[in-house]
Subunit: 340 residues, 2 copies
DNA sequence: TTGTAGGCGTTATCAG
DNA sequence: CTGATAACGCCTACAA
């Protein structure tokens, strides 16, 4: 394959100037005689001409691409989020560069570097919790950053779109309390993440409000990666006092937690009530179907892209936005009144 | 926010020429006095200087971004594929622009247009089956296209990375035949996709080889989207003769199919043996755990990115490659000898 | 309606 | 070792 045709080749071949070709390329920039346009288009077709995005971006300072930094596409929650973000982005004519951190701050740091070099206009990210200065720097460099699902409290100037984590945990806890449970355990994400902290807070306040003492051994903050969920369940079930109900507020560990429960001799919901965060394709397929807190992923995606896009176009006033959407609680058969 | 610092700013500020700065940037290009280097690095840090990827790409003809066109991120198979592709791409220092088609040829067509404008170097895609000319044109424009998971036979010049679909279906079928089943049903993807066709072919040839007649009503090719899987199961179970075993070779419809089976009065595997295509996080969580054909997603991703990258670097001879990797069959408890 | 020319930020080629 | 300077492909005033 010979070297690609440039705008100049097209111009020469069509017997016009590059300016004209440029105009037909992004029509609206200036006037072009219909007949001339036709000829130019024909030549572009014939030469299989393709404008170089690099040259274009270099020239016109702006970009139509945003970065999407997700923790882990293996988690259905993030996968669906990615799906919706791509969808919303397409509706606005912008492109999405996808990066993953695998929950690893080092990889996240690399991703941020990449994003800086790529000179994307905006970034939508689920931060690991580390790299505080780095995120700050990215934002300071003029990149519009939007945190979604999680946030970093030390960075109050960055837009945030999350569900009401605290409230969601309260609702889930209230549900179990109302059923009559008092020995409720909670498995959450790491303390380094806003979701991990907020959900525990919600759990505590619901318990407190109900006048039920919290057994500290019943609160387990575990990493997103690895099999920490299984271990947490084992530890909870092997203690001197066993919980009668369990909330898993760590979406990435629901699978491992459930798996371990299934391996135990306990049956749901007779011996243990279970409520998990995040609804996904299989929560209804297992037996019994799981009671869940369903995150409105569409809304998260919509608002994040909206923010990213608005900032890109400058059609939004300064000052960080914090958008909070409510999650739904869906009761299914994995939670019931305690039998003991 | 002031405008970003350029290489020239750094040069001026450090009292050197841009050439020197460029050299320290990509060290190895030329000699730089240690002392000078230090000073330049310091200035770069101070000015928060970041090289512009666009300018760099413009200068050195190459692009470091590839397009990834997936059918549906909601399907765990594609989500995991995306995860691995991003991972492999990162390892090679290239970026991934993500697009989805939702199995819709129109959206796919749009995506191809986007890809043309973006001037990505390579594209990894799971084609819907339509847009044959359009894919051809993209390839002709000099974009290295790699089809993964599915292929389009009319485009033999395009690289392909798939699992051995025919063989996988045969293995699954043989498994059931060996257990003693003869009334085996098969739900596959649409006839318009290579996977849909190949898996049915494999199913047929296994049946034929075993000398078992195929009941045509037992073969259902259904769309990836919608609830076609449920309907197919209903239709299979309500017929005059009921199958004793079912293979679902349509990864997107496994969920719906299983759900419908659960709603029926049949219990697995006593009344019906079930084997599904694609292993994923929940196949082992449902009861009974499902026998599956596991696709080696890592390998699919590795080879596709490898091809995309090699073509980008020109470090590979002409002529389309067709890479075929074997899938694993994993027996679990959803398949057993027929009880009738 | 069309053409000319300068510049976007880097890298690379030569002279110093 | 370092410094000018010419590309790279495109857009966009400003002229014609």
């Amino acid at each position: 394959m010979r070297k690609a045709a440039t705008i100049r080749d097209v111009a020469r071949e069509a017997g016009v100037s590059v300016a004209v070709v440029s105009r037909v390329l992004n029509d609206g920039t200036g006037p072009v005689a219909p007949h001339t346009r036709e000829r130019v288009v024909a030549v572009m077709e014939r030469l299989a001409y393709r404008p170089r995005a690099a040259a274009r971006e270099l020239q016109q300072q702006s970009t139509t691409t945003i970065g999407l930094v997700l923790a882990d596409l293996t988690n259905p929650f993030f996968a669906r989020l990615a799906d919706r973000v791509v969808w919303e982005a397409r509706a606005r004519g912008i492109h999405v560069v996808l990066l993953t951190t695998q929950e690893d701050p080092h990889l996240e740091s690399d991703s941020i570097d990449t994003l800086i070099e790529r000179s994307v206009g905006s970034v939508i990210a689920t931060p690991t919790g580390g790299n505080v200065e780095k995120w700050a720097r990215l934002a300071q460099l003029g990149v519009n950053v939007v945190f979604v699902d999680r946030e970093i409290e030390e960075l109050p100037d960055i837009d945030v779109v999350t569900i009401s984590n605290e409230l969601s945990a309260e609702v889930a806890t209230d549900h179990l309390l109302r059923l009559g449970h008092t020995r409720i355990a909670f498995i959450s994400g790491p303390e380094t993440t806003s979701t991990g902290r907020a959900r525990v807070t919600g759990f505590r306040s619901a318990m407190h409000r109900a006048g039920v003492a919290v057994d500290e051994r019943f609160i387990q903050s575990v990493p997103f990666r690895g099999t920490s969920g299984s271990d947490a369940v084992s530890s909870l079930l092997s203690g001197p006092i066993r919980p009668t109900a369990l909330i898993v507020g760590n979406t990435a560990q629901v699978r491992n937690a459930l798996s371990r429960v299934q391996q135990s001799s306990l049956s749901l919901p007779q011996d243990l009530s279970l409520v998990v965060f995040d609804d996904n394709p299989w929560t209804e397929l297992v037996s019994p179907p799981l009671s869940v807190v369903r995150q409105p992923i569409d809304m998260l995606a919509l608002h994040s892209v909206d923010l990213a896009y608005s900032r890109l176009k400058g059609s939004i006033s300064d000052g960080a936005r914090r958008i909070r959407v409510d999650a739904d609680f869906i009761q299914r058969s994995s939670s019931a009144a305690p039998t003991t």
